[in-house]
């Protein structure tokens, strides 16, 4: 319901995927509900509405955040990136392409959150952020190898009830390798794609 500004409504402008969206919101409206119910950006999913499942993961100024724990009024002035902003026209983001090619999903409901999370994970890792499973956390050590365990640890805020974890980890590794290759244009063809086998 578009309503005039009052003590419980405010007119705000959200910057989403590089576009400006002016709207009037109930102060209680979460960023998640503003996206889904008001702006018809339904790619961001509501799995629990209380910050426990990761399905509503978006990027705020390039960093991951769960949109259900963010009030829309507080998101004004931030650069918001949702799943709808990941592809360049018809060209899928490498993470999206890897999820598609490697079947990194089943029902698809957690997928936008997984992909947004993965995009940020790859950037966080490249920037040298350690995780709980990083052996050497000294700043001078640089980014640890992006092993399957590193990916699992960093992606653990995104639940997938269908159990697509095995393929998701492979997809994130493949996309991360693509980024490394394009960023460094390196002669090295060795990738971090998981080569673990169970048997």
């Amino acid at each position: 319901m578009a309503t005039a500004p009052s003590s419980t409504y405010s007119a705000i402008t959200l910057n989403i995927n590089g576009e400006k969206y002016p709207l009037s919101v109930d102060h209680r409206t979460t960023l998640l509900d503003a996206l889904r119910e008001r702006l018809d950006l339904t790619g961001t999913k509501k799995g629990c509405d209380q910050g426990q499942c990761g399905a509503c993961t978006v990027l705020l100024d390039g960093r991951r955040a769960v949109a259900c724990l963010q009030l829309a009024v507080a998101a004004e002035g931030r650069e918001i990136t949702t799943i709808e902003g990941m592809a360049e026209g018809e060209q899928l983001h490498p993470v999206q392409q890897a999820f598609l090619d490697l079947d990194g999903y089943q029902c698809g409901y957690c997928t936008p959150g997984q992909i947004c999370s993965a995009v940020a994970v790859i950037e966080e890792h490249a920037a040298g952020w350690p995780s709980a499973v990083t052996d050497d956390v000294r700043p001078e050590a640089g980014p640890p190898p992006l092993t399957a365990d590193e990916i699992r640890e960093r992606m653990s805020g995104n639940l997938c009830r269908c159990g697509a974890y095995v393929s998701i980890v492979q997809a994130v590794a493949r996309a991360a390798a693509t980024r490394t290759e394009s960023a460094q244009d390196t002669e090295s063809t060795e990738t971090t794609e998981t080569t673990e086998t169970a048997a």
Binding site: M1, D26, R28, T29, D33, R36, E37, D40, L41, T42, G43, T44, K45, K46, G47, C48, D49, Q50, Q52, C53, T82, I83, E84, M86, A87, L92, Q96, Q97, L100, D103, Y105, Q106, C107, G108, Y109, C110, T111, P112, I115, A148, R152, E153, M155, S156, G157, L159, C160, R161, C162, G163, A164, Y165, V166, S167, I168, T194, E196, T197, A198, A199
Partner: protein, 716 residues
């Protein structure tokens, strides 16, 4: 008029070749719209109000103040809601009256729907729902589930309550080796990532419901029955479904939405919150199972008794058929199985991925491992020695039985031959290591369905079937099946699903969806291909052939029809913290012809991950004081996360079903079956301690399977 046919050259081979999901691009870009994401003009939002007592009556509701709140349109409750008919038999039996909301003042469990508040926005509806004061007449409740309940009674579910042959006590007494143990599994919840959601509206005299469910014609017929509507006047659509696992049938949200749309004459959406799904969406009952095995010194079973107790609500009977596992897997001279129930003041449990088989296989396959240990026989060899020739209860022949092929292939790939059977020997630093195995099986069934296949004038084909893709890849699989039946490439086939207007079809359930639908699609497509071979040309409206598989499926010979599998797991156990980590896992399945290897692998792996989650994490704990659950959310109820899951593998041995037109058996559930037992058996191998109560929590590991840890009692 064109003369397009299925092509000059027969094209085959789509089935069995890996294809990415047809809706994959929509899913990775966020374009795929799920039930709560279809926009409607004038949409109103409903918010369910659930009871805060576990047993009693609603004395009154203070609706007046709530109706005066901003945006509030209506408060529906038992005094003003439309009346429903629940005296009918639906596709899966009599309806669970849990879905028939607001029909009386009785409260049979905590979290029972007592009102629906409808408002212009979801924020307004939520605030008003939380402000609604409900007065109860509270009565003492009983939610205490335990093996020793004197009020338990024998109950038949989808199989008989009791099967018996031979003299059990005599055979046990004469057995060289006996295992007599009790096993428990806790209350478990589906927790599909997409919560249940429905939008209902009346459009030109028809009721339209956009919903998230496992079968649109199923839900449409249930709604038609309940609201006493002509079946043709109800249309249910469900294009994309964010997981179901057995929980997405007729539930309170659709019924409440239809009521509100009827009263307000505008579209109304009702979405369950995550917490609400814990009392409104069904769950797997806890089980208490006693297994008695008697064998000769060589491990051949002389006696087998599988007795399983589960709970149900006071308003509906649901049997978790755990003892059914023994009816398929192992024979014995004396053989008894029984399913028993106790009625408590709790929500009604329901189907949850491998209902019966998941908890039943944990108990029976754990007991087999204990028997192997006692007999000094390799667990795989023990199963080989007890492979039944015919159905242990039915006496019918097996249509195929490839369990041992799965064990052979799995053992080879897992490195089973190198295993020292003695427990507690392998170490890796602070970790004790062990490996375990277990058998898996699931019934291979098909149910009547209809489909329509149209040859379009432009040379393409359209398939219409009210199938549901709940993450299984059904849309893609049916495209491959149709392409092969039409002898064209898949890119010429468009499959439309998730719309009850396409006619009756079975649900995505019982591992029967893809097989049932593929049968109907194949029948229609084959007839269409034969028609097109006559080269009579295609009129502008196309040529449509419809199929109905009722007769063909009814003509199937009576046989024991099952998929089989072998699960292998390696675990690491930290005896200091009690932590159990699965290090690797392998599942090999004989599950008929695999339509799409890419998505089938995902589905098997998903089932195995459910098994890991069941073995180590999942447990809903009911508070005896309030009658509700502790921590009814995804923080309080842990499902396996990325960090819990190692590199695991699933594969299959080729085994087309000779009695199915495509060779399909169905793969949705078998992945979880036996998985928890394989892990529990591996924990024994690592530590020398048997864990007969799931989940294998750190505190239970630390207590070393002592009596205190073994009661199955909740943490307090």
């Amino acid at each position: 008029m064109t003369t397009a046919t299925t092509g000059t050259k027969a094209v085959k081979g789509a089935v069995g070749t890996a294809h990415t999901r047809l809706e994959g691009r929509d899913k990775v870009t966020g374009a795929a719209r799920y039930a709560a994401e279809i926009p409607f003009a004038e949409l109103a939002h409903g918010w369910l109000v659930l009871s805060t007592v576990a047993r009693g009556r609603v004395r009154s509701l203070d609706t007046a103040p709530v109706l005066g709140m901003p945006g509030v349109l209506s408060v529906l409750h038992h005094e003003n809601a439309p009346r429903l008919d629940t005296d009918y038999v639906g596709m899966l039996g009599a309806p669970d009256p849990t879905a028939a909301v607001f029909q009386h003042d009785r409260v049979p469990h905590l979290g029972w729907p007592v009102a629906l508040v409808v408002a212009e926005t979801s924020e307004q509806a939520r605030e008003a729902a939380e402000a609604l004061l409900v007065h109860y007449e509270e009565e003492p409740h009983d939610v205490a589930f335990s093996a020793g309940r004197p009020d338990a009674y024998e109950a038949a579910g989808f199989g008989p309550a009791v099967t018996e042959k031979g003299d059990l006590e005599a055979e046990l007494a004469a057995s060289a080796v006996v295992v007599d143990e009790e096993y428990t599994t806790p209350e478990e919840h589906h927790n599909s990532m997409e919560p249940h959601a429905a939008t209902a509206l009346w459009d030109g005299g028809r009721l339209e419901v956009v919903d998230s469910n496992q079968g649109t014609t199923w839900v449409a017929s249930e709604l038609a029955n309940m609201f006493s509507l002509d079946p043709g006047s109800v249309r249910v659509r469900s294009e994309h479904v964010g997981g179901g696992f057995g929980s997405k049938g007729l539930r309170a949200h659709q019924v409440a939405a239809v009521m509100a749309a009827t009263v307000l004459q505008r579209p109304v959406r009702v979405v369950m919150t995550r917490r609400q799904t814990f009392s409104l969406a069904g769950y797997r009952s806890p089980t208490a199972q006693r297994i008695r095995l008697g064998a000769d010194a060589g491990g051949r079973l002389r006696a087998l008794d599988h007795d399983s107790l589960n709970l149900t609500s006071t308003v509906h009977e649901f049997v978790e058929g755990s003892a059914g596992v023994a009816r398929t897997m192992y024979d014995a001279d004396a053989h008894r199985t029984a399913t028993r129930l106790v009625r408590l003041d709790v929500p009604t449990p329901t189907f949850m991925r491998a209902p019966g088989e998941a908890p039943g296989s944990f108990a029976l396959e754990s007991a087999l491992d204990e028997l192997a240990e006692k007999c000094g026989i390799d667990p795989i060899e023990l199963r080989a020695r007890n492979k039944p020739e015919r159905g242990p209860v039915s006496g019918l022949p097996f249509s195929s039985h490839h369990l041992l092929d799965c064990f052979r292939e799995g053992a080879r790939r897992f490195g089973w031959a190198d295993r020292d059977p003695r427990p507690g020997l392998r170490r890796d630093g602070r970790w004790l290591l062990g490996t375990g195995t277990a058998a898996a099986h699931f019934g291979a069934g098909a149910a009547p369905s209809t489909a329509a296949v149209t040859a379009e004038a432009d040379g393409t084909f359209t398939v219409r079937i009210s199938a549901a893709d709940i993450g299984t890849g059904a849309r893609t699989a049916l495209t491959l099946v149709a392409a092969d039946a039409l002898e064209v490439t898949p890119d010429r086939v468009r499959v439309r699903i998730g719309d009850s207007d396409f006619g009756p079809a079975f649900i995505a359930g019982g591992s029967m969806g893809t097989r049932s639908w593929a049968w109907a699609v194949t029948a229609a497509a084959t007839e269409l291909r034969e028609r097109l071979a006559l080269n009579t040309g295609i009129p502008p409206e196309g040529i449509t052939i419809r199929s109905d598989t009722t007769a063909a499926i009814g003509a199937l010979a009576q046989k024991e029809r099952h998929s089989f599998g072998a699960q292998f797991a390696e675990v690491a156990v930290d005896p200091t913290t009690g932590e159990v980590r699965v290090r690797r896992m392998l599942g090999i399945f004989a599950a008929g012809r695999i339509v799409n290897p890419l998505t089938a692998r995902s589905q098997f792996l998903g089932g195995m991950i459910w098994g890991i989650s069941m073995a180590l994490h999942e447990e809903a704990v009911r508070d005896r004081a309030s009658g509700g659950l502790y921590g009814a959310d995804l923080a309080g109820y842990h499902v396996a996360a990325h960090a819990d899951i190692p590199a695991i593998e699933a594969d299959w041995v080729g085994e087309p079903d000779p009695d199915d037109p495509v060779g399909i058996k169905g793969i949705g559930e078998i992945g979880i079956v036996g998985a928890a037992a394989a892990i529990a058996n591996a924990v024994w191998h690592a530590t020398g301690v048997r864990h007969r109560n799931l989940p294998i929590r750190p505190d239970r590991v630390l207590l070393g399977g002592t009596a205190e840890a073994g009661t199955g009692a909740p943490r307090a």
